[in-house]
Amino acid sequence: MANLTLVQAINLALVQEMERDDRVVVLGEDVGPNGGVFRVTEGLHKRFGGHRVIDTPLAESGIIGTSVGLAMAGLRPIPEIQFEGFLGPAYDQICSHAARMRTRTRGAFTVPLTVRVPVGGGIHAPELHSDSPEAIYAHQPGLKVVMPASPYDAKGLLLSAIRDPDPVIFFEPKRIYRAFREEVPEDEYTIPIGKARMVCEGEELTMVSWGASVVQCMQAIEKSGRSIELIDLRTIYPFDMEMVAASVRKTGRAVVVHEAPKTCGFGAEIASRIMEECFLHLEAPVQRVAGFDTIMPYYKLELEYLPDAERIGLAVDEALAY
C-alpha cells in the first residue's frame, strides 16, 4: 500500500500488467526513454525494453491504426495519445475500425485495445490541450469510455480496461494527475467497467459527475451544507444508470456536472435517461452544469469556462428551490 498520485497509480498498473502479460505493449509519442510528457510511462522503457515500450512516429492515426493491427493479432496494445486534442487525427481509426471490427467480422477479429489519453482543462496548457471529448466516443457504438477521478480507481479501472476484450478509451484527467494522493494497494485489484462510485450519500439531491469535475462537486457540496449524494460515474460508456436512477428516485433532484460543452455533452444523455426512468420521482428538471457551447478558451479565461463550485452551487440552489 502506497500513497500515490494518479500518475503514479497508472504507472504502477502498467508495470504490473506488463509483468503479468507479455502481450501488453505500450506505444506512442515520447512514451519511451522520456517516459511520456506527463511521465506516466516513466521507467517502463528501461524495465521492459524498446521491444515493448515503443516511441512511434508523430502520427496519431498511425498509432491507433497499427494498434488495431497489433490487437487483431492478439496482442494487448496500450497506445498513448499525448493530449485529447490530438485524438482528432485518430478519430477515423478508432470509430471506423477499432469500434467496428468485432461487429464487422461477427467476432472473428477483435480489438482488445486500451487508448490512454490525458483529458480536460485547468492546467494552463496551450490550445487543444484542454478539451473533453468523452461524449464523442460515448456516441460511437463498440467503444467503452472510462475516466477515473482518483488514483485508486485509476489503477483498478486501467487493469480492467487492459483485460477487456473490447476497445476502451481511457481518459486521464490531467488536472488531477498530481493534485492529490491516495492509498493504492500494491496488490492486484480491478474495478469493473460500468460501475459508478458513490462518493458520498445524501437525501436532497443527486449530483453526477466524472473526472476532474468530481473535485469541484465535492467543494460545492461542502459549501452548500445540504445533504447531497455525489456519484462519480467512472465509466462514461456503459454508464451505471442503476446507481444513478436509484439515487434520483430517492432524492427527486439531480445536477450533472462536466467540463465538455453542454450541447450534446454526456450530461444530455444522463439527464434524458433520468427523465426516462425516474420521471414520476422528479421534483425539478435535471440541471446540467457544463462547459459553454464555445471553444475552450486559451488559459487566461479557462476558469471562466470550467464549471466551478460556484456555478455548481447555483444549480444546486435552484434545483432545491424548484
Binding site: 505493449v25 521491444h51 515503443i54 512511434t56 512516429p57 502520427a59 492515426s61 498511425g62 491507433i64 491504426g65 497499427t66 494498434s67 488495431v68 493491427g69 497489433l70 490487437a71 487483431m72 493479432a73 492478439g74 496482442l75 496494445p77 487525427p89 477515423d92 481509426q93 471506423s96 475500425h97 468485432r102 461487429t103 464487422r104 467480422t105 461477427r106 467476432g107 472473428a108 477479429f109 477483435t110 457504438p141 463498440g142 467503452k144 476484450p165 473490447d166 460500468g194 460508456y237 456503459p238 444508470m241 442503476e242 435517461r273 426516462e276 426512468e277 425516474c278 420521471f279 414520476l280
Partner: protein, 373 residues
C-alpha cells in the same frame, strides 16, 4: 545552385511476359511450375466468372453494390501465390482472385456484398482480414499485424493491397512511414489501375511513377507489369523474402487496369474513353496467360471449355449457398457489439426499442412484432 549530391536513386520496372506474348525466360523460368500455372489460370477464370454473375445479381436486385475485379486478376493472384499461406493478406475490395487462392470461400465474398457481415467471419487460419471499405485505412492494420508477428518472432509477414487512389490518403503515408522506420515486415502492393472511380491517376500522383512513393521512406520500391502474373510473382516473392528475413518493407506499384466500371453503381463511360479501355482489353491478363500456356502446350480449347463449365458451376453453387443462408435474426444487430452486452444493450436487444419503458421494465408494452425471428 547545388553544391553536393546527398542522395541518388533509380526505379526499375519488371516485365516477364508482356502483352505481345513476349516472354523473358531468364527472369521467368522456374518461377511458377506448370501445374501451378494451370491452377492459377483456373482461379483467374473462376474470379472472372464471378464478376459476371455478381454483376447480373446486382442488376436483378439480388445483391447490393459490387466492385468487379476484371482486368486486375494477375496482380492479386500473383501476390497471393508468392506469399506463404500463413502470411497476412490485408486486402482492399478488389482482391477476389488472391483471396480465393488463399482459400476464402466464394460465398463469403458474395455475402459481404449482399449486405451480410457473416461474409467477414473469416476463419482465422486463412490469415486474411476483411475487405476494407474506407479507402487507405487497412495498410495500418497490415503494419500492426506484421509488427505483432515480428514481436512474437513468427516469421510471418503482411502483404496489403490497395489502389492508386488509396495512396493519397494520410493513413497510407503513416503506414509506410511506420513500417520503414520501425522495420516492419510488410509488403505494400499498390494496384495502379489508373482510376479512382472517375478521378484519373494524374490527380492522385503527378510523379512519373507511383512506385517512387516509397522513396520518401527510404523504402525499397519497384514497378511491375501488373497484368503479367510472372512479374508480380517475382517482385512479391523478392519483397516477401526481404520482409521475412530482414524486416524490410517494400513498396510495389503493379501497373494494371480496371476493365469494368468502378462498381455496379458506376458508369465509367461518363469519364473515360472507350479507346483507352480497348487498349487495355488487349492486355487482359487472362488472355495473356492463356496464350502462354497454349504456346507451352499446357492448354487447349477443350480444356478451356471444360474450365468454363467448371467455373460456371462453382460460381452457381457459391451463389446458391450465399442466397440459401437464412436471414440473420434481428438480434444479430446487437450480439457482436461487445464480447458481453451491457445492461442498456441487453434491454434494447430484449425489447427491440430505444424508448424507455416507464418506471420499470414490466410496465412496457410488448416489443414490436418484428421480434419474431
Amino acid at each position: 545552385m547545388p553544391t553536393k549530391t546527398v542522395f541518388k536513386t533509380e526505379i526499375e520496372y519488371v516485365s516477364i511476359l508482356d502483352e505481345h506474348g513476349q516472354y523473358d525466360p531468364k527472369l521467368g523460368d522456374g518461377l511458377v511450375p506448370d501445374e501451378d500455372l494451370i491452377r492459377l489460370y483456373e482461379h483467374m477464370t473462376a474470379c472472372r466468372h464471378l464478376d459476371e454473375v455478381a454483376f447480373k445479381l446486382q442488376r436483378s436486385g439480388r445483391m447490393g453494390t459490387y466492385p468487379q475485379n476484371m482486368g486486375q486478376e494477375a496482380t492479386s493472384l500473383g501476390a497471393a501465390y508468392a506469399l506463404e499461406k500463413t502470411d497476412w493478406m490485408v486486402p482492399c475490395y478488389r482482391e477476389n482472385a488472391g483471396l480465393f487462392w488463399r482459400g476464402m470461400p466464394m460465398e463469403m465474398v458474395l455475402l459481404h456484398w449482399m449486405g451480410d457481415e457473416r461474409g467477414n467471419a473469416i476463419p482465422r487460419e486463412l490469415f486474411c482480414t476483411p475487405l476494407a471499405i474506407p479507402i487507405g485505412t487497412q495498410m495500418l492494420h497490415a503494419a500492426g499485424l506484421a509488427w505483432a508477428a515480428k514481436y512474437r518472432d513468427e516469421k510471418r509477414i503482411a502483404c496489403t493491397f490497395f489502389g492508386d487512389g488509396a495512396t493519397s490518403e494520410g493513413d497510407f503515408h503513416e503506414a509506410m512511414n511506420f513500417s520503414a522506420n520501425l522495420d516492419l515486415p510488410v509488403v505494400f502492393l499498390c494496384q495502379n489501375n489508373f482510376w479512382a472511380i472517375s478521378v484519373p491517376g494524374r490527380i492522385q500522383c503527378s510523379a512519373p511513377t507511383l512506385a517512387q512513393r516509397g522513396l520518401a521512406y527510404g523504402m525499397d520500391c519497384i514497378q511491375c507489369d501488373g497484368n503479367d502474373l510472372f512479374a508480380v510473382v517475382k517482385v512479391v516473392r523478392e519483397a516477401a523474402r526481404r520482409a521475412r528475413e530482414e524486416n524490410r518493407p517494400t513498396f510495389i506499384e503493379a501497373v494494371t487496369y480496371r476493365l469494368g466500371d468502378h462498381t455496379t453503381a458506376d458508369d465509367a463511360r461518363r469519364y473515360r474513353d472507350q479507346a483507352e479501355v480497348d487498349l487495355w482489353k488487349a492486355r487482359d491478363p487472362l488472355i495473356r496467360l492463356r496464350g502462354f500456356m497454349k504456346e507451352k502446350g499446357l492448354w487447349n480449347d477443350s480444356k478451356e471449355a471444360e474450365l468454363q463449365e467448371k467455373a460456371e458451376r462453382e460460381v452457381a453453387e457459391a451463389v446458391q449457398r450465399a442466397e440459401g443462408i437464412e436471414t440473420p435474426p434481428s438480434t444479430d444487430v446487437f450480439d457482436h457489439t461487445f464480447a458481453e452486452l451491457d445492461p442498456q444493450l441487453t434491454l434494447q436487444r430484449a425489447t427491440r426499442r430505444t424508448t424507455s419503458i416507464g418506471q420499470s421494465p414490466d410496465a412496457a408494452a410488448p416489443a414490436p412484432a418484428v421480434d419474431g425471428h
